[in-house]
């Protein structure tokens, strides 16, 4: 083997290694650190003693954490389902050669550009029954219209879903639109000649072809859903009561507000385990498929 070949063999690994090292430290070492804290009696500052699973027991006997877990499931399910269907719907409509497509696309896409630090107050007003949507509709004449979910502990989480859907649909739409554009239009034409109606063609021919787009959307939306933090703080600050608490806000409050660093770390580890349970099988299947393909 010549020197050049040897170099070519090692260079890729060498170039990749700083990234790998950075991620090993900034992700995996820190996870180990967090796991350690979750087994310690840490309160205000990190302590490196060992108290077993005490903090996990404490975590699971905190009603607020149960609310957070339940909310995460409600939120993730609805958020994914609505965002995906609405995004797909918009993408299909936009793909019908409509006028002003560029403008409309920008309108649906722009929320993705804004953080909830920016739009939080506006959303709060819109959702508030005495200031926002309900008031406007009532003043327009429909006096029976009621939209006060945000005041009701059992409905407030749906308001969080609405705002989250608003933010991310454009993104899902963009990916689906890209998927649709990549599909050969002759397929549609061929099906039309055979007499199939347009909605039918979409349901039975086009949508199944969008499988890769679906996967991308699901991964990205799950990422957004687990990280939803600014969203909750800006919209409801986990209220009313603690009805819209989410794991990320719980972790933040425990660690930085309530001097329960150990409990916060335990909640972080629970979150990571949940993520791993979903993502690792997905990654495994994706990467294995790849190997077969090559």
């Amino acid at each position: 083997m010549s020197l050049k070949n040897k170099l070519d063999l090692w260079l890729p690994r060498l170039v990749l290694s700083p990234s790998l090292l950075a991620v090993l430290i900034a992700v995996y070492l820190f996870i180990v650190w967090t796991a350690w804290i979750s087994l310690s009696s840490s309160q205000m500052v990190p302590k490196f003693d060992f108290v077993g699973l005490e903090q996990y027991v404490r975590l699971w006997s905190t009603p607020r954490w149960h609310t957070a877990v339940a909310n995460l499931f409600i939120f993730t399910t609805l958020f994914l389902a609505i965002t995906i269907s609405l995004g797909l719907f918009l993408a299909i409509l936009l793909d019908q050669k409509v006028r002003a497509e560029g403008f409309l696309r920008a309108v649906y896409l722009y929320p993705m550009a804004l953080s909830f630090i920016v739009t939080g107050t506006a959303w709060k007003w819109i959702l508030n029954p005495t200031l926002g949507l309900q008031k406007v509709v009532n003043e327009l004449g429909w006096t029976g219209f009621v939209f006060d979910w945000i005041t009701q502990p059992s409905f407030a989480i749906y308001c969080v879903v609405i705002a989250a859907v608003w933010q991310s649909t454009g993104f899902a739409m963009a990916i689906f639109l890209a998927g649709l554009r990549a599909i050969d239009t002759s397929i549609i034409k061929a099906a039309q000649i055979e007499g199939a109606s347009l909605p039918r063609i979409y349901v039975s021919v086009i949508v199944p072809m969008l499988r890769p787009a679906f996967l991308s959307v699901i991964v990205l939306l799950s990422y957004i859903s687990i990280k939803s933090f600014d969203l909750v703080l800006a919209l409801t600050n986990a209220g009313p009561g603690s009805a819209t608490e989410m794991p990320s806000t719980f972790m933040f409050a425990a660690t930085f507000r309530r001097n329960q660093m150990g409990v916060g770390a335990a909640s972080a580890i629970m979150m990571l385990m949940t993520v791993a349970a979903i993502i690792v099988p997905y990654l495994y299947s994706e990467l294995r498929e790849d190997r077969n393909a090559h």
Binding site: R105, W166, S248, I279
Partner: protein, 292 residues
């Protein structure tokens, strides 16, 4: 035949009506928060406290914008958002370039120079996307302290680059995997080396995904609040932190019009990027990302 054509046209018309109706109704819903922000930023404070929250302003004034840009106080420092806007630019430009560049070369290695364990490494990198960042703040602060980067913009650039690698690598890997290996093999036979192939064969084809990666990273980093509030202080804060400091008054009178103007100012760069580059975004996604 004649009536059939007419009924087909009518059903077509109904279809069009449905399409435009849906698109316009949804567009109204999407524009609502932006509308609230803009009209509020153009109102006087008295009008807002008089109970007008989402209606049309009685008298338009740009005073709030001016105040937010150059007069608003954060603590006793009354500089407006201007210096923090500059901080954010100083942070976001290098961080986007670095993370995109690193992602590009990682994606290249992971697809064209596959070695045993390459997939495992990719998996390791990818899992980093899903790390809840609240959990890493304290250890990260310690690392930054050791590197003497605590409280500085370069420190923030480092953090954003490191946590951006996962996503950018994902983007580029999924894009480069669609480029035939023959291309690189041919270049190799021509005697091109590792870097030569990257710069003259791979990068020129990668424009669409570079755009996607840059847009994604730009928005993520520009909008980040958690790292900004954790790792900077006072005058070195990025704009989201400054915005929070202006808006989040705990015990005092809120200046809603200034708040909204400040929020709009903080949003302008990302809005600009999405609106202007939105077309390329969809194009870039078409070219690669969705094939992952």
């Amino acid at each position: 035949m004649h009536t059939e054509a007419r009924s087909a046209r009518r059903s077509n018309q109904i279809g069009r009506l449905f399409i435009y109706g849906s698109l316009i109704a949804l567009a109204a819903f999407y524009l609502m928060p932006l509308w609230v922000m803009i009209v509020t930023s153009l109102k006087s404070l008295d009008e807002i406290y008089g109970g007008s929250f989402i209606g049309v302003p009685q008298a338009i004034t740009f005073e709030a914008w001016n105040k937010a840009w150059q007069e608003a106080c954060i603590g006793t420092a009354c500089t407006g958002l201007r210096p923090y806007f500059i901080n954010s630019i100083l942070m976001v430009v290098p961080a986007v370039i670095l993370s995109t560049g690193i992602g590009a070369i990682n994606g290249y290695i992971l697809t064209k120079w596959r070695f045993t364990g390459a997939n495992a490494i990719f998996g390791l990198l990818l899992f980093g996307c899903f790390l809840p960042f609240q959990a890493v703040i304290l250890p990260m602060a310690q690392v930054l302290g050791r590197l003497h980067l605590s409280g500085t913009i370069p420190g923030l650039v480092l953090v954003h680059t490191v946590y951006g690698i996962s996503f950018t690598t994902l983007f580029f890997r999924n894009y480069f995997i669609t480029i035939p290996d023959e291309l690189t093999r041919a270049a190799q036979i021509d005697g091109a080396g590792f870097f030569r192939i990257f710069f003259s064969v791979m990068l020129p084809t990668a424009l669409p995904i570079i755009v996607v990666s840059c847009i994604w990273q730009f928005t993520q980093i520009w909008n980040d609040f958690l790292f900004g509030v954790s790792f900077t202080a006072g005058q070195s804060s990025p704009i989201t932190v400054a915005l929070n400091n202006i808006v989040n008054v705990t015990m005092g009178r809120k200046q809603y019009n200034v708040d909204m103007a400040a929020a709009m100012i903080a949003a302008i760069p990302t809005l600009f990027v999405y609106v202007v580059a939105g077309r390329y975004f969809v194009r870039g996604l078409t070219a690669g990302a969705v094939k992952g």
